[in-house]
Amino acid sequence: MENSEKFNEESALKVITEMIDATKNDVRSNYFFFLLWGFLVLAASLLEYCLLTFFHSPYHYIGWPVLMSIGMIVSLVYAIRKYSKTNSTTYIGNFFKFFFLAWSLSLILVLFFIIPRNNQLVQPVILVMYAMAIFISGGILRFMPLKWGGIIAWAAALLSFFSPFPVQLLITAAAVVVAYIVPGFILKSRK
């Protein structure tokens, strides 16, 4: 790109639009996290439902610590690799970095105190936390499927508060498909 003598007002407007658009595209790459956590939560919910309902296993919850730990390690490795390759820092990227750090710590803290006291509240609380993360992400990325995903996850959380534990697991599984996996694939296809 060289300085041109014919650089006029229309060219200037075109340059501004093109360059601002060039910084916008990177935001969509967050689809990886939605698909990763969507599939992990789906697998953990269905696994616990099967172990509890069909096998009556005392270790029906085992999928959660295993799959969630895998999710955290994969997310961390992916984020570090992605960050080391990134040659710009966006305002949105910076916001998400702090938001998801705060969100993850809040979720861990809440679950740490809820799990030993009241198992019945675990799934609805997870759904409330997910709904918040999805809705905020949808708003920041201006991405309607994520906003709807957040609203659906809140509705699922509300339904969960009044449902027995095995049904809560099925509600969670259905909610992550609509709120995480579907928007994740749409986000991926729009890259």
Binding site: M1, E2, N3, S4, F7, E9, E10, S11, A12, L13, V15, I16, E18, M19, I20, A22, T23, K24, N87, S88, T89, T90, Y91, G93, N94
Partner: protein
């Protein structure tokens, strides 16, 4: 009578750089190179001009023993860019269709 467009910004590459920097918190030299498609030499010259005008700040550091140049738009740069865009909008809005 139209207000004159800022001559520092009214250059294809400098405007490209400023348009990129307005959308990000900070950008490395390689980012500007990748997005503008301009040569390293040309980008360096234009960055110096923008820095001299007080529109950007340039930080030099090292990453894995390689020199790293990071650019950030300043408050003055943001104001100049906003002013440029407003003046440009006036030009385009008031310009006769035949031109």
């Amino acid at each position: 009578m139209f207000k004159e467009l800022d001559p520092i910004l009214h250059s294809q590459l400098r405007l490209s750089i400023m348009s990129l920097l307005i959308g990000v918190r900070s950008a490395e030299f390689s980012f500007l190179e990748e997005k503008t498609g301009a040569t390293r030499g040309n980008i360096s010259v234009q960055l110096r001009k923008l820095e001299e005008a007080g529109y950007i700040e340039i930080a030099k550091s090292f990453r894995k023993n390689y020199p790293l140049t990071t650019c950030t738009i300043t408050k003055k740069g943001k104001a100049a860019f906003t002013d440029y865009v407003n003046t440009l909008s006036d030009y385009i809005r008031k310009k006769p269709a035949s031109e």
